[in-house]
């Protein structure tokens, strides 16, 4: 990818990280880990790949972005806010009474959210349905869907995989967040994936594209562009780090975090300093 474009996407990813932290900080605790692992992929999607218009969030030929791992809502709100769907400050009300920004993405509450998720496994089926619905109506847009590696325990994920391959949904692209951890610990301890999630998608008839560093915007971008050219549905396997970029969370890979005041201050400081350093080098 072009040098400046790559640097801009990295910058956007860091902005998403900082805003995600601010959003979760407004509540005081939340899913920092699983939000951070997809910050780079969200930057590539919203900064480069997606055909979307924040002024017309429901335009017919838009690309869709679905968070099947709905608990990473804060990262999505950061990406949407920075893209201009709403003033980002509105999202500093995470989970407040009557807030439009619940932890889990909800299409009836938040501008720019395409499908409602939160019950793991459901988003990928909904995304497959959207891809098929678009296809049947001659709409050429793509549907991107984030799936967690813990989420991939759900049988529904594989029912959706089977369906998507059967109907040759070549405009369905799943981004698998392989951060190696779910709520109770590592996926290997809690519920292992046999020969691996990639091998499973392959066996289900999907194109599988492995991204060695799923927190690297260049690698992600290349993989998504490649996925768009394939016949049939594609699974882009992002090998990521839970909590990426936030030392406090990266250390433990915690699913949900409840940092103290001091820890919050430290995390925000770290994110701001990283952003300033990047802006300086631009």
């Amino acid at each position: 990818m072009e040098e400046t474009r790559s640097r801009e996407l990295k910058l956007l990813a860091q902005k998403i990280r900082l805003e995600t932290l601010k959003i979760i900080a407004s509540r005081g605790n939340g899913h920092i880990g699983g939000s951070m692992s997809i910050a780079d992929a969200l930057a590539v999607l919203y900064g480069e790949v997606l055909n979307v218009d924040p002024k017309d969030p429901l335009k017919k030929d838009r690309d869709w972005c679905v968070l099947s791992k709905g608990h990473a809502g804060p990262a999505m709100y950061a990406a949407l806010g920075l893209k201009g769907y709403f003033p980002i400050e509105e999202a500093y009300t995470l989970n407040d009474y009557r807030s439009h920004f619940p932890s889990h993405t909800d299409r009836s509450l938040t501008r720019g959210v395409d499908l409602t998720t939160g019950s793991l496994g459901q988003g990928i089926s909904e995304a497959a349905g959207a891809a098929l619905g678009n296809k049947m109506q001659g709409i050429k847009s793509y549907v991107y869907v984030f799936v967690g590696d813990g989420e991939a325990d759900e049988g529904q994920v594989w029912e959706a995989a089977q369906f998507a391959a059967h109907y040759k949904l070549d405009h369905l692209i799943a981004l698998i967040d392989e951060n190696g951890r779910q709520l109770d610990g590592s996926c290997d301890e809690v519920m292992s994936h046999g020969r691996g999630i990639a091998a499973k998608f392959d066996a289900f008839g999907w194109n599988v594209i492995e991204v060695k560093d799923g927190n690297d915007v260049d690698e992600i971008c290349d993989a998504l562009l490649l996925a768009k050219k394939q016949e049939g549905p594609s699974a882009v396997i992002l090998h990521t780090v839970k909590g990426k970029g936030v030392t406090y969370v990266e250390k433990t890979g915690a699913h949900s975090s409840k940092p103290s005041k001091e820890e919050w201050a430290e995390m925000l400081k770290e994110a701001k300093e990283k952003l300033a350093a990047m802006e300086g080098s631009l």
Binding site: P102, E151, L183
Partner: protein
Amino acid sequence: MMYRLSEKHEKDLRPCCDGYADALLEMMKENDKVIHIDCDLMGCIDVGKVKAVFPDRVLNAGIAEANAIGVAAGMAATGMIPFVHSFGVFASRRAFDQAYLSAGYSRWPVHVIGSDPGVTAAFNGATHMPFEDAGLYLDIPNATVIDPCDYNEAFSLSRKLLNEKYVTYMRLIRRDHIQVYEDGSEFEIGKGILLKEGTDVTIIASGILVYNALVAAEKLEAMGISASLIDMHTWKPLDEDLLLKDVAKTGAVVTAENHQVSCGLGSAVANVLIRKLPVPQEFIGNQGRFGQCGPQADLEREYHMTADDIAAAALRAIDRKG
């Protein structure tokens, strides 16, 4: 049955879910067939301490609730005694056909624990807020359904589940809650608790609304109204004897549940009364709306579950006696 009402009405410092985890530990010590299967939510109800003692009998099925209940049924068929936990929404809606057929209809004792009932799901929001979980289990003909109100009740009733022959469902508050009963209190499945005897109206509550109902009864008393209060921790089998005996005296009823009224405690009570002793009944609970996120206190107001709401409903029920 031995229970003592706590005088203090203070926040219990123990998370309510420890009532289950502590009971589980005792049951595992006493009976080597007892196992716990979780769906990647062990961390949410602190069964880690039980796993530390019995690493081979606390299992994780991953984020796959329907399979977990199916597996539990198969294990029960071999004589094991499985407890299965997930959040209430997933332990019911997500796995209901398995609960109904593999466990219920097949007549295996599978004990399902659904945490974060109703508004206690609070910040986890709409997708995680079960208002129909217990209602679904009520519809399984041989199921036992329980909605405990505090640590001590959850502890005692968890242990009693061991005697049940068929599928059971227990709602489990996770953390903050008011202590209603003193330590050492004992409860029986299917036996409601008459917490207060009155003459004007019978309030029937369970779960977090037992405490709100206690406060409501005090408010009513200050207004010169004498209310009975029943903690109906078991929704099924319902304690009809206690219900009918008390309502025969008062002639008016308020049911109070942290659940949809269309399919919960209120409708179970109405089902009995309308046939055997028709009296005016008012329903406190979710009146047919979806969940939403927010602090529990705000949500109790939003869904009209506060002590004031219960007291006002009591006045309406009395008014309708005619």
